[in-house]
């Protein structure tokens, strides 16, 4: 079966709207240069899963500096104020929640959206997931990545085999 995912254009539009609405329109999201990766610094990862008519996971990976800036802007704090780890996790979680919810509506429904999961570092994705769309972007000079993974739910329909035998 073909694993379905959102088109690059739609995914980009969703991420762009979330970014410009909450992090300000001055710094545009730009395509990353090939092979820049996320760098070696600390990264934050957040994921939310969609289950129902379409099954998959949406992840956001951003370096610490982007996570900090996002948190400051969402909480309305001045740059450089002390942020707790919980605050950053909460803000990053809300970003993936908004992207995830909008990705869900791009796919066949009805489906349900999970609460976000956030970690410092990377989140290992389960092996039954395949990447179907990926955006590598830069924002204010820092890299970020948004991916959509779809579940390979091999339908266990033994009857198919019997019929074709």
């Amino acid at each position: 079966m073909i694993l379905e995912g959102p088109t690059y254009t739609d995914l980009h539009a969703v991420v762009d709207e979330v970014w410009s609405a909450f992090l300000g329109p001055e710094d545009p999201l730009l395509p990353a240069l090939p092979d820049t990766g996320l760098g070696d610094g600390v990264t934050w990862s957040a994921a939310t899963s969609v289950t129902g008519a379409w099954n998959g996971v949406v992840t956001v990976e951003i370096p610490d500096v982007v996570a900090q800036t996002a948190t400051e802007r969402m909480l309305g704090l001045a740059p450089g104020e002390d942020l707790s780890t919980e605050d950053v996790a909460d803000a990053v979680g809300e970003l993936v929640n908004m992207i995830g919810g909008n990705v869900k509506s791009l796919m066949p429904g009805p489906s349900a959206l999970s609460l976000p999961l956030v970690a410092r570092g990377t989140i290992a994705s389960p092996s039954d997931l395949t990447e179907v769309s990926c955006l590598d972007l830069t924002w204010a000079g820092s890299p970020l990545r948004v991916s959509v993974l779809a579940r390979r739910d091999v339908p266990a329909r033994a009857t198919d085999k019997q019929e074709s035998a």
């Binding site: 959102p6 088109t7 254009t9 739609d10 539009a13 969703v14 709207e17 410009s20 609405a21 329109p25 001055e26 545009p28 730009l30 909008n102 509506s105 791009l106």
Partner: protein, 284 residues
Amino acid sequence: MSIAESSFHYVADLVRRETSMLYEQGKEYLVEARLLPLAREAGDSDVDVYVSRLMTDAAERRKAIDALTINETSWFRDNAPYQAFTDVLLPQAIAARQATRKISIWSAACSSGQEAYSLSMLLDQHLPLGWTAEILATDVSTAMLGRVKAGRYSQVEMNRGLPATHLVRYFTRVGSEWEVSADLRRIVTTQHLNLATTFPPLPTFDIVFLRNVLIYFDLDTKRDILRRVHARVAPGGSLLLGSSETTLDLTDSWEREAVGRVQVHRPVPAAGAFGLTAPTRAAV
């Protein structure tokens, strides 16, 4: 980092030439904020480098003009004009058009079309059975006219003033956007029109929305536009301006009338030769 004076002048002249919109001294920050994303996208290190690119690149110039024209709009903007439309202006137009059973409306400076489609929703709800209506949406920006024709809006745009009941009733999801129904799109026609220059042939309209655009012009241009719009409003018809534009010192060719919370302008019939001529109808 701030835009050089020569770059600012170049850009201000360009916009003025193309649209008559004024970017006066003191608006440097605005020019910079609007061009910076384009500069980054083009790979230029700052806005001045980008402005020198504009001097030789016509396609980029179009993009810059579109970014610099203020397209800010929303559904049912300010609400009160639409309330007046439903409660008073449309019923008056209906009373006046019993013979033809046809209402025509002009959304001049329509931007991405929220004004025209908001009006089309109200027509869908309030126009009596057996009547037809036509909304002409015009703008100087061809990019904006393209958007009106497509009738597609982003999530962020949908949130701006559109009642949820209307979203559910008139829109469907298409990818990350929402598309206005074909029934509403059928009522709305687009045409390129620069308000600051002589108008192409136009019919007369029962109701004209000319909102949030005159503020960008100098006084002479404003007067000139209002004079030319005057001839396009049907006798007994109405003109609505933006909420900050109503205090303009209009000449005595207009009568002002309070309708609910808005000021409606009615053309005072011009005495003289043209007063008796039937309005010429041109193809739209």
